[in-house]
Amino acid sequence: MSFAPAAHHVHESAELCALRVDVRAFIRDEIASGGFVPAVDCWLNSWDAAFSRRLAARGWLGMTIPVEYGGHGRTFLERFVVTEELLAAGAPLAAHWISDRQIGPSLMKFGSEEQRRKLLPGIAAGEVFFAIGMSEPDSGSDLASVRTKAVKVDGGWQLTGSKIWTSGAHLSHYFIVLARSAPLDPEHRHAGLSQYIVALDAPGIEIRPIVSMNGHHHFNQVFFDGVFVPDAMLFGREGDGWKQVTSELSYERSGPERFLSTWPVLAEMAAATARGDLAPDPELGRMFARLMALHQMSLSVADALTNGRATDQEAAIVKVLGTATEGDIAELAGSTIGGGDASDGLARLRAMTATALLSRPGFTLRGGTNEILRGVIARGLGLR
């Protein structure tokens, strides 16, 4: 059995604690001055470019990007602390989420010098926002089957096809596209894929909204009709697309956005219980405990990533448990509150719960379904 249990307890340093204090003070000021209203699933649904720029002004975007590229040269753990505090507060993070979480670190790892100089300063300033183009209508969890084609032409590549579930593409400046740059070899399905940085205002791009069942619009389908991408915007190495998209999955899977999407619901339930508007329910304590334990696990994965240790299993575990718990909190609220009226003090909770319940199905789907992730965990256990 090759499975190593995840947990090694990480105790935060005085510096990290001080950073939490700073972020909490900023959040208090923002809420007091009407800078934002705490929301459920804020990292996907709450787009506020002005808020992103206020974070940038504090040095809290592009934190891990080196100073020479306009970033702040801080550690992954420092970024973890800042994002965790902002998520718990339900702050509007959607505008910069992808560029800050994914694109910045990916550019540092795979990007060309020219790409870094061109894009990183804007990412750290909250001026350049990204979306991601991976899934296609016929390629959901099975990414190797993508059919968007990149054909080599003079001075660049020509992209044809479409990408689906691209959150925020209608508001972003760029997106990063996984496309087939060489014909499919059934023996090596993961070969022949490449990534491209595509400007979303390029000729030949059409963005069609996909409205979610809660009425929100963050998803899109993006169509390419022979879109030209210059050679300089090939991302990483030709043919290395699969390796590149899978190499950073631990960051994407283990982060605090995988267990805090409904924290504002839990906080509101606690407040309502304190006011006497809700009867004390042990289930609330149970959910709180799970999230505190997930915080510890997620922190220990962040620490492991900082120190260059591989954590695919642990990251998958955080995501399986975290996203299920987010949904369980929505369920708990949904099964606790009745129809009621404005006089019962639960209007705010009722509104949040409606959003949470309708967002819930997405929690355990996005970023790798829980069924796929259980397979990853089972592989780590030597079962497959």
């Binding site: 059995m1 499975f3 249990p5 995840a6 947990a7 090694h8 307890h9 990480v10 105790h11 935060e12 340093s13 005085a14 990290l16 604690c17 939490r20 204090v21 909490r24 550690t75 753990l77 965790e84 718990a88 507060a89 924290w263 839990l266 906080a267 606690a270 219980t273 304190a274 004390p280 042990p282 289930e283 609330l284 304590g285 149970r286 709180f288 405990a289 799970r290 999230l291 505190m292 334990a293 997930l294 915080h295 510890q296 696990m297 220990s300 620490d303 900082t306 299993q313 642990e314 575990i317 399986v320 448990l321 259980r374 397979g375 965990i377 089972a378 780590g380 256990l381 079962l383 497959r384």
Partner: protein, 341 residues
């Protein structure tokens, strides 16, 4: 960044070796009997009083010891002797004879305590009780106590004890120690449970890989993979919660409110993890796992028994609800401290 805590790899290896000699159950019996041979080995190595005898060992090492013991279903009262009774003797400044084997309990005003682990098997019972002028503690020879033997659902001796409090030589002890005693007991059970879960995971993975049905190893069925994956998930989460509480305990800063929060989180997570891990481990093993001849029950039964000690799962959940509601402010800053204790 502080170094993430870990127990010394060499110590971990030694513990694993020592406990792999644990006797386990007598064939055909549901009763657990004190493994005195193993105890003698542990005593020789200084493992029977790891933390309560100025060895420099902390709860971090003790947790490693308890996990190894639980992983091998060892029938030895290490938690009771060291972390509870030994600690009380030390705190109260009672005369100590480290070779004596002890358990501990809280008695009512009449000197009665129920469900005291290992009472029939030990030399001494350290008894706490609340006298009119405050809490007292006494180190009572077992033969001075009246004991009605009993067993918990894991077959471990859990006995009813009656002590003549007036005759016992006792010392005063602060009420805070009694509160800490409860938290120590609660955490010890949580630590032990994670050890047992860890082994349940190993046994389940192994069985799924070896057992062939419909021409394939069970492990090839996705439904089975997911059952085992969920054991891994819950065990990992429980271990993370327990490690955080062990860290609080080891830091010894004496903030009992903060310690209680960490222990409550651990007990809640471990208690709910027990539901999933026990159910899934048995489901993977099929009928053979429900028999006395298969080892699995030596791991699953203690987890269910430990969950009932030092507060039920529901009580811990309710305590957390109460704490976060009383905290008033945002439960986030209440749970995730931004100041170092």
């Amino acid at each position: 960044m502080d170094a993430p805590y870990r127990i010394d790899a060499q110590l971990e290896q030694t513990l694993e070796q020592v406990f792999s000699t644990a006797a386990g159950l007598q064939p055909g019996s549901t009763d657990l009997h004190f493994d005195r041979k193993l105890w003698a080995t542990l005593a020789d190595l200084g493992f029977t009083r790891l933390t309560s005898q100025a060895t420099g060992a902390t709860w971090i090492e003790a947790a490693g010891l308890l996990r190894a013991a639980a992983r091998h279903a060892a029938a030895v009262p290490v938690a009771e002797n060291d972390l509870l009774a030994g600690w009380l003797v030390e705190r109260a400044g009672l005369p100590d004879e480290p070779a004596l084997i002890r358990t501990a309990c809280i008695a009512d005003a009449s000197g009665s305590a129920t469900g005291v682990p290992w009472a029939t098997e030990v030399d001494r019972i350290v008894v706490l009780w609340e006298a009119p002028d405050g809490w007292r503690v006494a180190d009572v020879p077992r033969d001075d106590a009246t004991i009605s033997p009993g067993r918990d659902l894991a077959g471990r001796p859990t006995d009813d004890v009656r002590v003549d409090l007036a005759r016992a030589a006792s010392a005063a002890i602060p009420a805070a120690c009694v509160r800490e005693y409860d938290l120590r007991g609660a955490l010890a059970r949580a630590v032990q449970s994670t050890g047992a879960m860890d082994r349940m995971l190993a046994l389940s993975s192994q069985y799924a890989t070896e057992r062939v049905q419909f021409g394939r190893a069970l492990a090839k069925f996705q439904a089975i993979q997911h059952l085992v994956a969920d054991i891994a998930c819950e065990t990992a989460l429980a271990t993370a919660a327990v490690d955080a509480a062990v860290f609080q305990m080891a830091s010894g800063h004496g903030d009992l409110d903060w310690l209680e929060l960490a222990v409550a989180i651990a007990r809640s997570v471990v208690g709910h993890a027990a539901s999933v891990t026990v159910r899934n481990a048995h489901q993977v093993h099929g009928a053979i796992g429900t028999t006395l001849e298969h080892r699995l029950h030596e791991l699953t039964k203690p987890v269910l028994a430990w969950r009932t000690e030092f507060g039920s799962l529901r009580e811990w959940d309710a305590r957390l609800t109460d704490r976060i509601a009383r905290a008033g402010s945002d439960p986030w800053s209440f749970g995730v401290r931004a100041t170092r204790a």
